[in-house]
């Protein structure tokens, strides 16, 4: 339906700001969200035929407002019929303020909406779906197709999330100061998950899914504009930009995965890299350290190396050391082991990997075996490497990753 990219961008940008106005006017987040979604669909049709109106935001608010008013009127009529209480006059919806005049145009409820959609009472799958629809302005069909599930499944996740918000009576306002940091962490994690879903899919013809990275970057950029002094927001945006910069270099013409060390770095997107480096450098110099900044800093060190062999591995080892102390988890240890192997040799890396063998969070994961295979190959243990590549390939549930691991194994046979 939405073929015009310019109209689509505009609609997605306006979606949360129109929704904010409606929710402030009527409460009832769930009904307002439906009304805005209908207004977006109506606009996509009308604007591509008649052109973009002079005040697109005002147009959307008027249409969404009319839907809400219609719905409230029919609900009130139904309630009157049910209750047989004719004396109770309905609120005169025609007295509602004229569209758009109750908030200055620069007012932006995007952040409040994000906190609402990423409320800890919702499951991660629901947080992601609702964020993309209510804040991202995507249709349910678009989200379903991005996550490769039927539209009915995605519609159910969204409606369940909205029911939950209603049932829990989550208020439409910024979280209390004391909870703000924890709640922001959830928002950033949801944006990170959306980015990863898109990034892992963003090669070959699967553009619809790859578009999720663009959405995640757009939403994180919006958060960064609203919270310019938060180092972790800047760090996450930098991490996304620095990772996404490698997008076109990481896939071969046949759709196979190309590891970082073998990528044609001339194909990395310099614009994204420069923006990412500037963001993370600024954040590190003036805000408290956090995991997204550290991961972005590591990505920046990779991005700064003109050739793989120019990589400043001691710097990366040091950064992983800080990251392991700051927010320890087995994936960090795994990457730390690779960096240590590059500085002190494969045996040192393999020794660190052994500490993960008893960690049930990762001990049966294909990535542990894949890294072990790589380090064994570096150490010249072809038999061991072959066995580990094969184990890793069997454990992987990703087709391109399995194919990559099988190819590595075949080279050692």
């Amino acid at each position: 339906m939405r073929t015009d990219v310019h109209i689509e961008d505009l609609l997605r940008r306006l979606a949360p700001r129109v929704l904010g106005v409606l929710v402030r006017r009527y409460g009832q987040f769930d009904a307002c969200e439906d009304a805005v979604q209908e207004a977006l669909l109506a606009a996509a049709v009308a604007w591509s035929e008649e052109g973009i109106p002079e005040s697109p935001r005002g147009w959307l608010i008027t249409v969404a407002d009319r839907r809400m008013a219609d719905q409230l009127r029919s609900e009130q009529a139904r309630r009157r019929r049910e209750d047989r209480v004719a004396a109770q006059a309905p609120a005169d919806v025609s007295l509602a303020p004229a569209p758009g005049d109750d908030q200055p145009p620069e007012h932006d409820d995007t952040l409040i909406l994000l906190f609402l959609c990423c409320h800890p009472a919702l499951s991660p799958a629901s947080q992601i779906a609702l964020t993309l629809r209510a804040v991202g302005g995507l249709t349910t069909a678009e989200i379903a197709s991005a996550f490769l599930v039927p539209e009915a499944t995605m519609a159910q996740r969204i409606s369940r999330a909205k029911q939950r918000i209603k049932a829990t009576a989550i208020p439409f306002r910024m979280p209390a100061e004391a909870d703000r940091a924890d709640r922001l962490r959830v928002v950033l994690h949801v944006l990170y998950l959306i980015f990863n879903e898109g990034y892992s899919a963003s090669f070959g013809p699967d553009l619809q899914r790859g578009e999720l990275t663009r959405e995640a970057i757009r939403l994180t950029r919006a958060v960064q504009r609203l919270l310019p002094d938060d180092g972790e927001v800047a760090g996450l945006l930098a991490l996304m930009l620095l990772t996404d910069a490698r997008r076109s270099a990481r896939t071969g013409a046949d759709g196979s995965l190309i590891p970082l060390a073998e990528q044609d770095r001339a194909r990395w997107d310099r614009g994204s890299i420069e923006e990412g480096i500037a963001l993370v450098t600024d954040a590190l110099s003036r805000t408290p350290l956090g995991p997204y900044q550290l991961q972005a800093a590591i990505a920046a060190v990779h991005a700064e190396a003109a050739r793989a062999e120019d990589t400043d591995w001691p710097q990366i080892v040091a950064l992983y050391g800080v990251l392991e102390r700051n927010s320890p988890n087995p994936v960090v240890t795994l990457n730390h082991a690779v960096a240590i192997a590059m500085v002190r040799g494969p045996r040192a890396g393999l020794d660190l990997l052994e500490t993960l063998d008893g960690d049930e969070r990762i001990s049966t994961h294909h990535r542990l075996e894949a890294v072990r295979a790589h380090l064994l190959e570096m150490a010249g243990d072809r038999t061991g490497a072959l066995a580990s590549y094969r184990t890793a390939a069997r454990r992987s549930t990703s087709l391109p990753e399995r194919r990559y691991l099988e190819t590595r194994a075949a080279r050692l046979r």
Binding site: S123, P124, A125, S126, A129, L148, V149, P150, T153, M154, Q156, R157, R160, E197, Y199, S200, A201, F203, G204, D206, R209, R246, R250, L257, I258, P259, L260, Q263, R367, A370, V371, H374, T397, S398, L399, P400, E401, R402, Y404
Partner: protein
């Protein structure tokens, strides 16, 4: 992660169940499907027609051979599948545990391969 549940039965064993036991099997399935649909985890699923309706197709040197009956002779065989997406393998296993066929025969939980991947 998306999972497929492969549901196995022994046809003679199923026929040997009492009417009440069989109704419970169907009711339990309805309950789980309803729950998974409401939670937004359900993707799809179906039962398979009787084994006697199976055609096995083999192509050798470009020549197709079609025979009646299953590829593998086994005491238990596939009678249905369901497809869902959930947060963890623990949740997938929990769903499988509640599938009534698991009480009499077995169900298998198999993760689906995804087309996505990240460079290493």
């Amino acid at each position: 992660m998306k999972y497929m549940l492969l549901i196995y039965q022994n046809p003679a064993g199923f026929e040997a169940l009492s009417e009440e036991e069989r109704s419970t099997v169907f009711e339990d399935v309805d309950t789980i499907v309803k729950e998974l649909t409401e939670s937004g985890e359900w993707i799809g699923g179906d039962g398979l027609a009787d084994l006697s309706q199976t055609k096995t197709v083999k192509v050798r040197d470009g020549v197709p051979a079609v025979t009646d009956g299953p590829y593998l002779e086994a005491k238990e065989h596939l009678v249905g599948f369901s497809l869902f997406e959930c947060e963890s393998v623990e949740r997938a296993t929990e769903i499988a545990t509640r599938w009534p066929d698991a009480r009499y025969w077995a169900v298998e939980v198999r993760p689906l391969m995804g087309a996505g991947g990240v460079e290493m």
